[in-house]
Structure formats: structure tokens, C-alpha cells
């Protein structure tokens, strides 16, 4: 039973992301409507973003921003007798890792721009074929070519 705790309960967030990701993948592959495919792509991206954000979570840690009185070396000169050793050290355990957030900020931005461009392409397709259903579009292409 311990493995259930370890795999299912302790990592329940990963399972949620896997479910979300598969949902998006299913929509991308199985849905016929192009806009629904795009919605699936967005769900897929959201799952990956959530996954990375959750790897940056740390218990009892705060955002990685130093207050001015926490910067080491700032208050050393005030008490030269004993202050030199008393400047507070920065412990990495107290701060979350900002790198996953940065990576995901990039992913969000790129996702927005790809979504915008793909919506533009979809609009063009609708203007050309008059439909967003994939099978109807393929049929029209086939009938146009012979």
C-alpha cells in the first residue's frame, strides 16, 4: 500500500497534469473542428506550464526577493567590532527557485503568439473554404483537384 501513497497521493499534481495533457492531446487528434484542435493545444500547453510551476514550489520558502536590510555586507561597517560576522547570510532554502517561473513565462508568451498566428490561419481557412470542419475542408480540396 505504500506505493500508492508514494505514487498516487504524494504526486497527485503530476497525475492531474497527465490527465490534462492527454485531454489536450485527444482534442488535438480526435476533434474535427479546427478551433477545437486549437483549444486542445492550449490545454496541452497549460498542463505543461502547470507542471513546471509546481516543480518550483517549496515549502516554507518565500519569493526570491531580498529586502534591503538582508543584502549581505550592507550593515557590516556600522559595527566594526562585532558586526562583521553578523551580517545575515542568505540561505537558499528560504527562497523558491525562480527559474521554472522564468521558463514558463517564456512558454506562455510564445504560446500566446502561436495561438494568435494559428487563429489568424484558421480565419483565413474559414474565409477560403467556408467551414472549419476538417473532413469538409479535405473534401473540398479533393474535389477542387479533380
Amino acid at each position: 500500500m505504500e506505493w500508492i501513497d508514494n505514487i498516487l497521493v504524494a504526486r497527485f499534481n503530476y497525475w492531474i497534469y497527465i490527465i490534462l495533457m492527454m485531454l489536450g492531446l485527444y482534442a488535438m487528434i480526435a476533434k474535427n473542428n479546427l478551433v477545437k484542435k486549437l483549444i486542445g493545444m492550449s490545454i496541452f500547453q497549460a498542463a505543461i506550464i502547470l507542471f513546471f510551476i509546481s516543480t518550483g514550489v517549496k515549502r516554507d520558502a518565500t519569493i526570491p526577493i531580498l529586502r534591503h536590510d538582508e543584502i549581505p555586507g550592507q550593515h557590516v561597517v556600522e559595527h566594526p567590532a562585532d558586526g562583521a560576522t553578523q551580517s545575515p547570510a542568505i540561505r537558499a532554502n528560504d527562497y523558491t527557485n525562480p527559474l521554472p517561473h522564468v521558463l514558463m513565462l517564456t512558454a506562455i508568451v510564445v504560446g500566446v503568439s502561436t495561438l494568435g498566428v494559428s487563429l489568424g490561419v484558421v480565419q483565413k481557412i474559414y474565409g477560403h473554404y467556408g467551414t472549419l470542419e476538417e473532413n469538409e475542408i479535405i473534401e473540398k480540396i479533393k474535389s477542387a483537384h479533380g
Binding site: 527559474l99 522564468v102 513565462l105 517564456t106 508568451v109 502561436t114 494568435g116 483565413k124
Partner: protein, 205 residues
Amino acid sequence: MVTAVLADYRGYDTMFETVVIFVAGIAILALLRKKPDSILTPPSGDAGDFPESTEPSKQAPDLIINTTCRLLIPVIQLFAFYVVAHGHHSPGGGFQGGVIFGASFILLAIVFDLPAALRRRSEMRTLMVANTGLLIYAGIGLLCLVAGGNFLDYGNLDAILPGSAIDARSHGILGVEIGVAFTVGAIIFVIYANLSSKGTLRESL
């Protein structure tokens, strides 16, 4: 801090990310925008894509919506500037602030109509702002090169800017973030305007 990592440690990455946003906006324009000659000609007199300011909008918006919009949009824009300006030492940054700034114009376009928003921020000016943002980013990178360091190594800017190398680094990040905010805020609006009006920029949703 996220922004500091973004603009310093991953400076190249963020620069080309801004380029991606810019290219996406250009791609949207290339795909959807009708009448390509009207982009190049500046709006003079009865220019085609410049909305007629005398024509009243078809249905006058509700008083409540009108007043709320009027009160909200300046606050949204001020908040966007706050988010940009504090990005390098607190939560916030260029992308977030730029999106908030662009969203204020999108709100304007939703509440009234797209020509009402374009009257305050024409297409030409929006694209020029997007260009300027990229140029600010790349220009600060080049300035670092001129000051004797590596590309986008803001620490070398202390030769030009007041303060120590640490201050110069902070100011360099801030400048880069402002460039990012310019581009993102403009391109978000371009994407919305072209998608919602099928490229005609005449009437939106």
C-alpha cells in the same frame, strides 16, 4: 526576481522571445490585413484605414459601461506602468505590464468599437511602438558592447549611467523591460484588432 533572471541571466532568450512576439504580430498582419498599401501610407486626410472621427458609433454605449470604462482604463494603464517599473526588484515585469497595457486598449475596443480604440492609437503608431520596443532592447545590448563588455552584459553600463555596476545592472534590466513592454503591449493590440475585424480594422465583434 523572475524578471531579473529573465532579462539578465537569460537575456538572449528573452530578446528573441520578444522577436517571436514581434514576428507573430507581423505574421498576423501578413495573413489577415486587407489593403496592404494603406499600412505604408501615413494617415493623411481621408486615409483609408484611419477611421472617420465624425461618424458616430452605431449604438451609443450604456451610461454605466461608458463611465466604468472611463474610470477604469486610466487606472489599468497606470497599473501597467507600475508593473513594468517594479519588475526588476518585485513581482512584475515587461511582459506582464505590456499585456496589461495592451488589454486596456482591447477593453476600449470591446466597450466602444475598434475605430474608437484606433482613434486613440492608430495602427501606424502601434507598429512603430512595437519596433521601438525591439530597438530599445537591442540598443541596450549594443550599448553594453560599446561600453566595453559583452552583449547584454548590463554591468558595463556603469561607464554611462550614474551609480555603481550593480545599479547599472538594475537600470539596464529596467530599460530592457521597458522595451519588452512596448513590443508586447503593441503586438497584443495588433493581434486583437486584426483577429476581431478579419483584418479590415473597421468593426470588431
